[in-house]
């Protein structure tokens, strides 16, 4: 029984990271109809910023998260305004390919700057955890989950309670009508992408504490973001939170299948995603669009 509880806890904690990775991806996809294949690369940029600040200035990694957010927001805004906005009215496929090119550029620039060495952020309290009987809750992972939930809550707040956020929601309902009521589309699009990138940056900071990063380490996260967003459902931040946590649980239980069962974890995750798409495309919690 204790093992089962431990597994659930581990799954939820891992889910925290997936939530952080997913909310940014889902925002950009749901509102702007852009599938950002460079999302993983943006996440890793955040990871490197955190690592740089941690190793040079010895800042606590959680304190570097706001820096990640701001830096990636600026980068994302510029990227959208300068590059991606040019193909907004083109079919969906073009954004796939454009962001693929952007991904190639970012990963290789990171390779030039940081080299291919593996870097990790290991604060002094890493490895320690809360012990309840035989169940352990590592502090770093717990704090990451908290940070991810805060991030999602913050994003939801921005989307629902600020003027910018409402403008973004207006665009996602009806782009032309939004333009008619005076919303500056170019700016609003750029802000949306910037927000998505900021979330990616924070996710990167969290990831740097949990694993070792290298320029190509972001690729799997792009794929996982797909699954998270589909599982939860496009359209609402809370849906992506559910999706992320669910994915963490699926992964934890998938990997605990005895023997060689855990090698199917990826296949299970993607199979689940396909199943959800075919049977309930709006995801566990989303609205059908």
């Amino acid at each position: 029984m204790a093992d089962f509880v431990q597994l659930v806890i581990l799954g939820l904690l891992a889910g925290g990271v997936y939530v952080a990775v997913g909310v940014g991806f889902g925002l950009v996809w749901g509102v702007l109809n852009i599938v950002n294949l460079a999302h993983g690369a943006l996440v890793i940029i955040g990871g490197y910023i955190t690592w740089q600040l941690f190793s040079e200035l010895h800042l606590d990694p959680f304190l570097t998260l706001p820096v990640d957010a701001v830096a990636l927001f600026v980068l994302g805004y510029a990227l959208q305004r300068g590059v991606i906005n040019r193909i907004i009215r083109a079919p969906l496929l073009f954004t796939f390919l454009l962001t693929f090119g952007v991904n190639l550029v970012i990963v290789n620039i990171l390779l030039m700057i940081f080299g291919s060495d593996f870097r990790s952020v290991t604060p002094s309290y890493s490895g320690q955890g809360l012990e309840l009987g035989s169940i352990v809750i590592p502090y770093v992972r717990l704090a990451s989950l908290a940070a991810a939930i805060l991030l999602a809550a913050g994003l939801a707040f921005v989307l629902n309670r600020t003027r910018t956020g409402l403008a973004i929601q207006a665009i996602s309902s009806d782009r032309d009508a939004a333009q008619l009521v005076g919303i500056d589309l170019r700016h609003a699009y750029a802000v949306t992408f910037g927000l998505g990138a900021a979330c990616a940056g924070v996710a990167g900071g969290l990831i740097a504490m949990i694993q070792a990063i290298t320029p190509t380490a972001g690729e799997p996260y792009t794929l996982q973001a797909f699954v998270v967003v589909i599982l939860g459902g496009l359209g609402r931040v809370s849906a992506t939170v559910v999706g992320g946590l669910a994915f963490g649980l699926v992964e934890a239980f998938g990997q605990s299948i005895p023997g060689s069962g855990s090698v199917f974890a990826n296949a299970i995750a993607f199979g689940l995603m396909v199943l959800v798409l075919v049977t309930r495309p709006q995801g566990l919690m989303g609205r059908l669009r």
Partner: protein, 409 residues
């Protein structure tokens, strides 16, 4: 250095095979020998490919400083032509073909990784040009009956056997083993070998768990290992997974008498990523700077380490990927010298008959083309420094056994 640039210019203009020689005062300089090496200089295998390149370069600098490889009284300078296969095995094949057809490479040096090596071995076979490789240890490549591929490194199944051998000498002797393995070819060979080897030394494998290659979240696997409470926790995988497992082991309070990972702990990145948490970890290594082999030619172990530090300062000691790559070049060099010719078939036969000891260890190939004669050594990280702990004749420190619990460190 200057000779290297001159040689490069020579290749750009001429690429003939002819063995010229005037031979009056001292050895004459013959044609350039071109060696081909496709590596994953970008993409997922960048880090390891760069280490391989370092190994090849160290040798090419040394041999060119001496004028080149001596063949029948004529010295032939060496040029190694590198290409980036973007860590894609199919691209490696294209580049191999280019090396053979366009660049007229005399001989081939192996790429990094078993997938690329398998593909390139087929091409070497079809073109009948010897390829000496140092970075693809999967035995399946060598079970295909290829005659033109030679691997200087110990095969995959040896990687963790040394750890078991060492454990058998320790007191109190560990009896149970938890084996975690990534699901790629190389890692599985390492792990499957343990499955059959450990019982012969009186140790039971109580857990055998495969996980997806490249996984970064291994909490469930560590949890499973915790549940069986094994004395020895082994991992067969790569650097990324070794780091993940070690971190998870500390977080989830997985304790064991021995933690040994097949790949990972030998790279400096492992220690910089984990800090003090890297202590006490063992790994099976192809080579360490502490081994005591007497080389028949080329540098001694100490000289090699010094040469590496001089050329690549700030990176610490050379890890075994660098050393094994240099060893591949040495094998080729000695085979060419023995054959007294640059003819691919003669060199191939010389490789098959080769038996020489260098700083890396004994290089001799079995009938399949892999080096089963060189032993693996076991290292342990003690206070942030690598030490060789087994076998006893090359050890420079005692193993710190048993590994203390996480709470007591």
């Amino acid at each position: 250095m200057k000779l290297c640039r001159l040689a490069l210019l020579a290749v750009a203009a001429v690429a003939a095979l002819a063995c010229g020689g005037t031979g009056s005062s001292g050895p004459a300089t013959g044609s350039t020998i071109t060696l081909g090496a496709p590596l994953g200089l970008t993409g997922a295998l960048t880090k390891e490919s760069l280490l391989t390149q370092q190994g090849y370069s160290l040798w090419s600098d040394w041999i060119n400083a001496r004028g080149g490889i001596l063949v029948n009284g004529v010295k032939h300078p060496v040029v190694i032509k590198y290409y980036d296969d973007t860590s894609n095995a199919n691209q490696s094949a294209v580049l191999m073909q280019k090396l053979i057809t366009e660049d007229k490479a005399n001989f081939l040096l192996g790429p990094y990784g078993s997938a690329a090596t398998a593909t390139d071995a087929a091409i070497a076979e079809q073109n009948q040009i010897p390829m000496v490789e140092a970075n693809g240890a999967a035995q399946s490549i060598f079970n295909q009956g290829y005659k033109y591929t030679f691997g200087v490194l110990s095969p995959a199944n040896r990687y963790l056997q040394g750890v078991i051998d060492m454990a058998a000498t320790l007191n109190p002797k560990p009896t149970t083993v938890a084996m975690l393995s990534a699901d790629d070819n190389f890692s599985l060979e390492v792990a499957n070998a343990i499955n059959t080897y450990a019982p012969t030394k009186g140790m039971n494998v109580v857990l055998f768990k495969k996980y997806k290659n490249g996984a970064t979240n291994l909490s469930a696997e560590v949890q499973a290992a915790k549940a069986v409470n094994a004395d020895i926790v082994l991992n067969s995988g790569h650097l990324q997974e070794a780091i993940a497992i070690n971190k998870a082991a500390k977080e989830q309070k997985l304790n064991a008498k021995i933690f040994a990972y097949s790949v990972g702990p030998s790279t400096p990145d492992f220690i910089t990523a984990l800090g003090k948490d890297a202590d006490y970890v063992y790994d099976g290594s192809q080579w360490t700077p502490q081994v005591k082999y007497t080389p028949a030619f080329y540098l001694s172990v100490a000289q090699y380490v010094a040469a590496y530090k001089a050329k690549y300062p700030g990176l610490g000691d050379p890890d075994y990927h660098v050393a094994e790559s240099t060893a591949a070049c040495l094998a080729l060099q000695r085979a060419i010298e023995n054959a007294g010719s640059l003819d691919p078939k003669k060199v191939r036969d010389a490789l098959a008959a080769l038996d020489v000891t260098v700083f890396f260890g004994q290089i001799k190939f079995d009938s399949r083309g892999i080096n089963i004669y060189k032993p693996m050594v076991v290292e342990q990280i003690q206070n942030g420094v690598h030490h060789t702990v087994f076998p006893a004749n090359v050890a420079d420190a005692q193993p710190q056994y048993p590994t203390p619990n996480w709470d007591q460190r």
